[in-house]
Subunit: 416 residues, 2 copies
Amino acid sequence: MEKKAEIISIGNELLNGNTVNTNASYIARRFHENGMPVGWIQTVQDEAGAIQSALDLALKRSRIILVSGGLGPTHDDITRQVLADYFRGQLIFNEEIFQKIKKRFEKRGLPLPEINRTMALIPHNAEVIPNPLGTAPGMIFRRDTQLVFVMPGVPRELEAMIELTVIPRLREVCPECRVQTDIFRTTGITESAIYEKIAQQLSFFPQYEIAFLPKVTGVDLRVVRQDQEAQNHEIFEKFKNLLYNAVGEFIYTTQELELEAVLGNLLRGKKLTMAVAESITGGLLQDKLTAVPGSSEYFLGGVVAYSNTSKIKLLGVSQKSLEEYGAVSEQVAKEMAVGVREKFSSHIGLSTTGIAGPTGATTAKPVGLVYIGLAYQTDLVVRTFQLGVDRLMNKPRAAQAGVELVRRMIAGLPYE
Amino acid sequence: MEKKAEIISIGNELLNGNTVNTNASYIARRFHENGMPVGWIQTVQDEAGAIQSALDLALKRSRIILVSGGLGPTHDDITRQVLADYFRGQLIFNEEIFQKIKKRFEKRGLPLPEINRTMALIPHNAEVIPNPLGTAPGMIFRRDTQLVFVMPGVPRELEAMIELTVIPRLREVCPECRVQTDIFRTTGITESAIYEKIAQQLSFFPQYEIAFLPKVTGVDLRVVRQDQEAQNHEIFEKFKNLLYNAVGEFIYTTQELELEAVLGNLLRGKKLTMAVAESITGGLLQDKLTAVPGSSEYFLGGVVAYSNTSKIKLLGVSQKSLEEYGAVSEQVAKEMAVGVREKFSSHIGLSTTGIAGPTGATTAKPVGLVYIGLAYQTDLVVRTFQLGVDRLMNKPRAAQAGVELVRRMIAGLPYE
C-alpha cells in the first residue's frame, strides 16, 4: 500500500456542474502539506452501486480514504447507509448526538423535523467525527491499517472536521509524515521573471517542491519540504536569502494575508490615514481596502469620479488639465491624488485613472493604459502601467498596483 | 453502455490542491445541458500507469470520455504520448499545426522554443481538435461507438474547444440528446421561500429537473428539460406563469446576466443617470456598477464616506443628524442619497450605511443592520435590512440590495 490518500466526492450536483468541487482541492492541499499526498480523486453519484465501486477501487490502492457528501437528512443522502452496509456496521441511534442536533435547532428557534433523527444513526463499528459547525456528524471506519473518513459535503463543516479531527489523526497514524510548508506572496512581478532570477540556484535545493501559483493580482510561491534533510533550518535560510536577494521587494507577506491587510498593518503602525480617488478601478480599490476588518481606523473614504464634472467638482481637478492632457493622464492622476487627500484631510492620497476597455481607447492611449498617483507629504509621484485588454482583469490589476504603490512607499522600498 | 459521459482530469496541480478543478464542472454543466450527463469524474496524476488505469475503467462504462490536461510542451506533459500508446497510434509531425503554433509565437514577438515542436505531433489514428485560443491542439480517438476527446487543461482553451468542436460532435453522435435549459435569476428572496411558493404545483411538471442554486447575492433556478414531452412549449408557458405569479418580481433576468447589467440596460433605456454614496459597502457597490462595459453612460460616480467628517464634507449630511441618530440610521441614509445626487447632478442618488462587523455593533444596532437610501425626483425612500454577522458576506449582500432597489423602482415594481 502506497503512502497515498484518496478522495471520494459524492454528489449529483458535482456531476451536473452546479457545484465546483472545492472540497477536494481543500483536502488535497491540506493532505499534501501534511505529507500524505492525494493520489486520486473520484467523483460519483449519490447511488449505492457507484459508491461501492469507488470504495472497492480506493481500498485497493490508498492508505487513507476521505469520503464527502450525502450525509444530510434527505432521501438523496444515502452515504451513511451505504457505508454502514459496506463495512457491515449496524446503525445504532446515538442519543448524545441527537441531543446536539436538537440543541442546534433550538438555538435557531426552529422545530426539529423528524427526518433529522437519521443523522444520529451511527454504525456500531464506526468512530464519530464531531461536527462543530453543523448537524451531521462524520464517521471513521478502519480496515487493518487503512482509515476511511466520512464527512458531510458542506464546505465549512468539512473544513472544520479536517482541521479538528482528520489532520490530528493523520499525525498519529503517520508521525513521519510531518512536512514543512511556506508561502511567499508576491505582486508586481511575473511568474517567468521570478523564475529567471532564481532558476540557476534552484538546483541547490533539489528536495524543495516549489510551486508557482499565478493569480490575477500576483504570484504566490509555495514551498513544501517533505523530509528531515529538506527541513534543515540553515539550508532554508540560504533559500530565503536567495529569494529575498532576487525578488524580496515584491514579497509582501509570508502569511496567508492579502496585500490590503499587509498595508493596513503598516498604516496602523505608522498612524497614517489614506483616501482614494478612483476612475478606472471604479470602486474596487476602496472595496479591497474596506474588506479588511478595522480598516476604518486608517481608511477615511474616497471618491469614484467617472465623469469629468465629478473630477472637477469633487476632487478639484482643473478644467484646463482635463482639456490639455485628457482625463487619462499623468497630470490628472496627480491632481486627483492631491485633491482627494485635501477633501478627506488624510495623510495619503491615492488615485487611479486609465482606459479599462473595451471602449475609450485612442492611438496614443490604448486599452490597459493606467496612471496611479500618490501624494504624501511633499512627495507626489505617478506610475504608469500598461495592462491587458480585458476590462475585468484591468480593474483588479490596477487596484492591486495602487495598494502596492502605497505599501512600497511606507515600507521604504523604491516606488517611483 | 449507458448514455453517460466521463471526465478524466490529469494533473498533479489538481491533486496537491494548488488548482481547483473548474474544468470538470464546466464540462459537466455543458454535457448535462446537452443531454449526455457525466456519470464519473476521475482525477489522476501526470503518470502513465495512472492515466492508463483511468482509461481502462472509463472505457468499461462510459460512451463519451473527456480527457483534459498534460498536453503542453514540458516534460510533465505526457498525455499525448500516453494516449497515442494506449490507442496504438504513431505520432506524426503535422506541418499545418506546427505553422499555426509558429504564427502564434510570431504574433507575440516571441521565438519558438524547439520543445514546442512536440505539440505538433499527432497520432495517425486521431482526429485533430483545433485550439483557437492556444498552441496545443486536442485530439479525438474512436473505439467502436465510444469517443475519447483529449484537450489541454488551460480553462479558456478547453472551454473554446468544448463549444466549437465537442458539443457539435455530441449533437451529431446523439441527435436525440438535445435538451432545453432555462435559467431564472432571482434576488431578495431565499431558496426556501421560493420553494414554499411553488412546491405544491411542481408536481405538475415531473419531467422538469429544477435546481435551486443559492449564491450570496441571490438564488438562480436552472430548469433542464430532457425529452420531447418535457419540451412542450405550452406546458413550459404554464410553468413560467406559475413561477412569475409566485415570485416574478424577484426574477431580474432569464439570461446569463448580472443584476448590475440588467439595471444598466434599464437606465440606458430611460436615459437616467445615477450616483452612489457608500458607507457599509465600502466601494463594492460602485465596483459592481463599473464592472459593466459602457457603465460610464449612466454611472457618474460616487463617494465612499467611511468617516463622519467625510459624510458631512462631501455629502452634506448634517452634523445634527449624525449626533442625533448616528451614522447608521434611516435619516443619514436619506441625507447621503440626496447629497450624492446633488454633488454629481445625477437623476438618482443611492446610499448604503450599516454595521458590517465584526466591530461597531450596539444593542440597538446589531452587526448586519443596513439602511439603503434612494432619492429620485420627489421620491426619497429608505429600506432596512437585517443581514448576517459575516463582514465579507454583508458587503456583497448590501450592494446587491442597493442595485435591486434601483431596479425595482425603474421597473415599476413595489420598492418601499
